[in-house]
């Protein structure tokens, strides 16, 4: 483990805005498989409520901001939260330039945390479903991607994203109506 690295994660979860139907499948799949502590956040953008998922930054601000070294960049370039170190201070959430890490319980699709478990004091963090993807072949994808019924979420490297004409966006989406981009 390291706190800062030039390692880039091999694949990221990217969202195709032209396909997202706001069904919440990604958030629900993440929620039930991560101890009711989901890492899929949502951003309201004009008419749309779009999923925002950690982009596993190469130079992650959340890692730098964490006062207890709970956030670390692993050998594969995935930013991980060490669950027993996290004190739920929210520093990482405030530091994230993309607004991906949910910082408070909102009760709405803007990120929420379990309050009835130990994990209620911790910040949810996408681990790219390492229990599924670690050591698996190239076809295995995180649960949010597998669950997406519209094919809006993809687990791809930057080359494939470029080939598909997909920009890997930050967490926040700007513009009044992202559907008009077509």
């Amino acid at each position: 483990m390291t706190t800062a690295s030039s390692i880039a994660v091999a694949k990221r979860v990217v969202t195709n805005l032209d396909r997202c139907i706001e069904c919440g499948s990604c958030a629900a799949a993440c929620y039930v498989s991560h101890g009711n502590m989901p890492a899929v956040n949502f951003a309201q953008s004009g008419a749309a409520l779009l999923p925002v998922i950690c982009r596993q930054c190469k130079a992650a601000a959340c890692v730098e901001a964490c006062p207890v070294e709970a956030m670390v960049l692993d050998e594969a370039g995935v930013v991980r939260r060490r669950i027993f170190r996290c004190i739920g201070c929210g520093s990482c959430a405030r530091a994230c330039p993309f607004g991906v890490l949910p910082a408070r319980t909102a009760g709405v699709p803007a990120g929420f945390r379990s309050t009835d478990r130990m994990s209620g004091h911790q910040i949810p963090k996408c681990d790219l479903c390492e229990d599924r993807t670690a050591g698996a072949d190239g076809d295995v994808v995180p649960r949010c991607v597998a669950a997406c019924p519209a094919g809006a979420l993809m687990f791809v490297d930057e080359h494939r994203a470029a080939a598909e004409h997909l920009a890997i966006l930050g967490g926040r989406t700007t513009g009044e109506n992202p559907y008009k981009r077509r």
Partner: protein
């Protein structure tokens, strides 16, 4: 694959919509499970499917019988409860309301016992709007489409919020649009649901005016139908006129009037004329089978069963919540989890979840699919058919003649629907109910999903920008919605694509449906849009 061809691979599947996505249960603790979809990106699992695993061992699961005495309920053993139901029925008629989205085998066994039980009538319960829609499509003779079929179509007509009703159908549409960017996507939805955001043509549709809008589109596309003077419909119809394989996707929305049978018929005719088919995005995976098998199994329509509710015995379904009724009492309800029907029942019994029973479903594309149970039911919890058998035996019926299971793939030929009644004057402001991906039906099952309970604990109220400004509402504000003498809390979502004077509330909640309940109307159950009032809640409500 032909429509009668059967998929033989037996895996557990989500039975909450016709997509029949494969979902498996993964143990996540002692007596706790969760849903898991396929490892790769070949499948899908919408929020409803995500809820299924957690419901297997849900803490509120009904595992024993209870008898209601006033506001209190007391434990009673199942044989005593069955005897009491049988004695209460006595020589009078009892109506068994069986979930119409069970496997065909369950429906056939239950029907056999009801046939042997004098005075017992069987009613297969599906959404009333779905039933009318499917009868109309069956009468039209159109093919059924689903899943991968959609990516081969060169035009799409979406009626109602079909993308929310079955999120997997979006993939086929988007896959087609990726290869042919000018593919027309026409949407008819006065509630401005999900499809409106992706439409190339949004048809200007009045409240309760889906049939008129569809007729205008069909006329402009070359069909012999009432053209009207709807310019947006004419433009949309022209865009579809050149289609060689048109897909018509329909979600028969609750509280949108009584014309779904005519809509299904006209949509089927249009799809046939354009070389395509219809995708009926129903609640539950087996609604088409229930429509086809019901008459063969001697089932009575829900409208006929609704004439006398006192001796209702609901098995595996939530008719009270589904119809949006309040203040009713029924004899008994056998349900896996509490719902509006168990709240109205004098005797409550346990029963298996639909995904604890394997069997044959007629899913999307009218394709027959064999499913496996995710898990067997808990010890002592009967399947719906076993429960009907136990009820019949408690009533003194020793045996029944096993009916040979009718083939659900055999198409029925209902009569061409008569003209639709003239739509009532649209209320203003009008409350419409709209589908959402989070819930199935009245939310009697999916509402217990952990994600649903935390993230979507109350209905969403879509409000136009103009109405939000006029009412002083902001996004995510909590409001009280009043209609039909009922009130429901809801969370505001500003919907720029929605027209002023229309408010759309999520229909996946029994309390939402109570705002616009179903009534018997000309031999069918139907709900109309209603006048609505919205008031802001105090901040402490959140």
């Amino acid at each position: 694959m032909s429509q009668t061809e059967q998929k033989h691979e037996s895996v557990p599947r989500c039975t909450l919509c016709p997509a029949l996505c494969s979902v498996v249960a993964v143990q996540s603790g002692p007596d706790a499970w969760r849903s898991e979809c396929e490892q790769t990106d070949q499948g899908a699992m919408c929020p409803r499917g995500s809820a299924m695993g957690d419901l297997l061992g849900h803490r509120r699961r009904i595992l024993s019988a209870r008898r209601r005495r006033g506001a209190q309920t007391t434990h009673v053993d199942i044989p005593a409860a069955l005897s009491e139901i049988a004695s209460r029925v006595g020589g009078t008629d009892a109506t068994i309301l069986l979930d119409g989205n069970l496997p065909c085998e369950e429906m056939a066994v239950a029907a056999a016992w009801c046939k042997a039980w004098p005075g017992a009538k069987l009613c297969l319960v599906i959404e009333p709007a779905d039933e009318q829609l499917l009868l109309g499509i069956e009468a039209s003779g159109a093919d059924y489409l689903a899943g991968a079929d959609l990516s081969e179509c060169d035009g799409f007509l979406i009626v109602g919020d079909a993308l929310a009703a079955n999120p997997t159908c979006a993939k086929g549409i988007f896959d087609r649009r990726k290869t042919a960017t000018r593919t027309p996507i026409v949407v008819i939805d006065p509630g401005a649901g999900t499809g409106s955001k992706f439409a190339t043509h949004v048809v200007d549709t009045a409240v309760g005016g889906e049939l008129a809008a569809l007729a205008a589109v069909a006329a402009a596309a070359g069909l012999d139908a009432a053209a009207g003077d709807n310019a947006s419909a004419a433009a949309a119809g022209k865009a579809l006129a050149g289609c060689k394989r048109l897909a018509v996707l329909i979600a028969a929305e609750h509280a949108r009037g009584a014309a779904w049978r005519q809509i299904g018929y006209l949509a089927g005719q249009l799809a046939k004329a354009k070389g395509g088919g219809v995708a009926a995005e129903t609640f539950g995976a087996n609604a088409l089978a229930a429509v086809r098998l019901g008459p063969k199994l001697g089932a009575i329509p829900l409208a006929a069963a609704a004439e006398n509710t006192a001796n209702w015995i609901a098995v595996g379904c939530d008719p009270i919540g589904l119809l949006g009724w309040t203040g009713r009492n029924i004899l008994a309800a056998a349900c896996p989890l509490p719902n509006a029907t168990t709240d109205a029942a004098e005797i409550v019994l346990p029963v298996a979840l639909p995904w604890e029973i394997g069997g044959t479903y007629l899913g999307g594309g009218a394709r027959s699919v064999k499913t496996l149970a995710m898990l067997p039911p808990p010890a002592g919890v009967p399947t719906p058919a076993q429960l009907v058998e136990s009820l019949a035996r408690a009533a003194g019926i020793g045996a029944c003649e096993r009916l040979s299971a009718p083939d659900p793939a055999a198409r029925t030929s209902p009569d061409k629907p008569s003209s639709a009644p003239a739509p009532a004057k649209a209320p203003s402001p009008a409350l419409l109910l709209g589908r959402q991906a989070a819930h199935a039906g009245s939310g009697a099952l999916s509402g217990y999903g952990p994600w649903q309970a935390e993230a979507i604990g109350m209905p969403e109220l879509r409000v136009s920008v103009e109405d939000a400004r006029e009412l002083g509402l902001k996004a995510v504000a909590i409001v009280t919605v009043r209609a039909n003498g009922q009130a429901a809390g809801a969370r505001v979502k500003i919907a720029p694509e929605l027209k002023a004077g229309r408010l759309v509330i999520s229909e996946g909640f029994a309390l939402s449906r109570a705002l616009a309940p179903c009534r018997a109307d000309g031999g069918q159950m139907a709900a109309e849009p209603v006048v609505v009032a919205v008031s802001k809640e105090s901040a402490s409500a959140e």
